[in-house]
């Protein structure tokens, strides 16, 4: 099938590439761009392992055509580390055993990142509701739940100490 030139904005970089019109965003990320963080799980829009953010909103890259995502901001798990170090939520997942086999983790990262960006202090219900679109076959949901709460707490303490430092000056 004839390839067409498309422009994608991924993790803050604008890329031009030739791609078939029927190619899914997940395949472009993994095969053409080497961004293999996003995973193919169920391949029928159920599991959330392929979750990326489109204009900041988490969506399934296995159910999106790459060519449909032009002019939008795409963010993958490769883009959520902060200045080369792990984001707070990535660190908390490591500390609390939120990642077991690790296959679903990148998808969860994108979902949780959106949750905390939108609402830095979500209730337990909000967290459960937000996580209800991603599946973990290791069933490590409780560890993730704890990791998320720990990340929220760390963030809150961080903000408090920042405020203190600012106050001391």
């Amino acid at each position: 099938m004839k390839k067409e030139l498309i422009t994608l904005k991924i993790n803050g970089r604008t890329l031009e590439l030739a791609s078939e019109p029927n190619k899914l965003l997940l395949d472009v990320l993994r095969q053409d761009l080497g961004l293999t963080g996003s995973k193919r799980g169920c391949d029928d829009s159920s599991c959330g392992a392929c979750t990326v953010q489109l204009d900041g909103v988490p969506v399934l890259s296995c159910t999106l055509l790459a060519a449909s995502c032009q002019e939008r901001e795409i963010a993958t798990v490769e883009g959520i580390a902060e200045h080369g170090s792990l984001a707070a939520i990535q660190k908390a997942y490591g500390d609390w055993g939120g990642a077991q086999c690790g296959y679903c983790t990148p998808g969860f990262m994108m979902t949780v990142d959106h949750l905390l960006t939108e609402n830095p202090n979500p209730s337990e219900d909000d967290i459960r509701h937000a996580l209800s679109g991603n599946l973990c076959r290791c069933t490590g949901y409780m560890q993730m739940f704890q990791a998320i709460k720990a990340a929220i707490e760390a963030e809150r303490k961080g903000r408090a100490s920042e405020a203190q430092t600012a106050g001391a000056r």
Partner: protein
Amino acid sequence: MSLPDFQLLRPRTVAEATELLAKHAANAQIVAGGTDLIPSLRQRLFAPRFLIDLRAIVDLRGIRARDGGLDIGALTTLTTIERSPEIAQKYPVLHQAAKTVASPLLRNMGTIGGNICLDTRCLWYNQSLQWRQSCGFCIKKDGDLCHVAPGGSKCWAAFSGDTPPALLCLEAEIEIAGPQGTRRVPLSEFYTNVGDARMKLQNNELLTRVLLPVRTAGWSGVYRKLRIRGSIDYPLAGIAVVLKRSNRHVADARVAITAVNPAPLLVKGVARALAGREVNEEIALQVGELAARTAKPLTTSALTPEYRREMIRVFTKRAVLEAAAIDQSLPRAQPRGPSTVD
């Protein structure tokens, strides 16, 4: 598994979209959120030469006030509907129904227009090409017999959208754009109750808006859904109830059911059964019976037809009691979180 080959067209206005549809009608398929169509393309249920992607038509996104009611663009995502304070306040049954569709991720993608035009579903249809080839094709796709009702020539695939029963209860109208301009139809006249020709939408037409009337604004409502998991799944039975009350008595009422027929259906006789009366367990059960009699589930999904029909009865009873217990004089709880997307 990859998708079949097609050419992707991306119109920016409704006029451009209807022009493309007029040109390619027979060989084109429309895609909005893609959550229904893309998995079906993967399973080779469709092999269009052209895919018309509506996502770039900004005009079809968003919720606006209109004539005391609401005008919802067909491309408005289900997340936006779930989070709209206007909808939660004026049309709580739609808020509840939208909130149960699939999962948060899929609601970020799926649109209200797509939910209305959702393809009907069946165990024998929503399968890979290899599966269907091995087990034998069916009337709905590539074959000439029905595995669900052997000997019959009608397709019984179940309509499985969550928001249409709520919209039917609210007496919603839809706007359709075509080569001759736009037309408005009551949603109740849109569906056919035939699984393989589910809706009255020509292949050169496009659903553009959903209109909610002022008449049903403020009616209390409840949506209940049966599914295997608490998230992600399509409904295997669903019921929407709306009630208008004056003092303690019911002034008007509607019940609609989904996922148990090839169309979402309004249950007949509900207003008569409830009007002028005070809701109690017995009356709620009578309404449940009416709903169960309207449901004609067959073996199109993972749960048995008997169980699904019984749950229609039980959920209807509970939903009627719950809707009657809502105090209409109090302001309703706002949905959580800031409204985003779109």
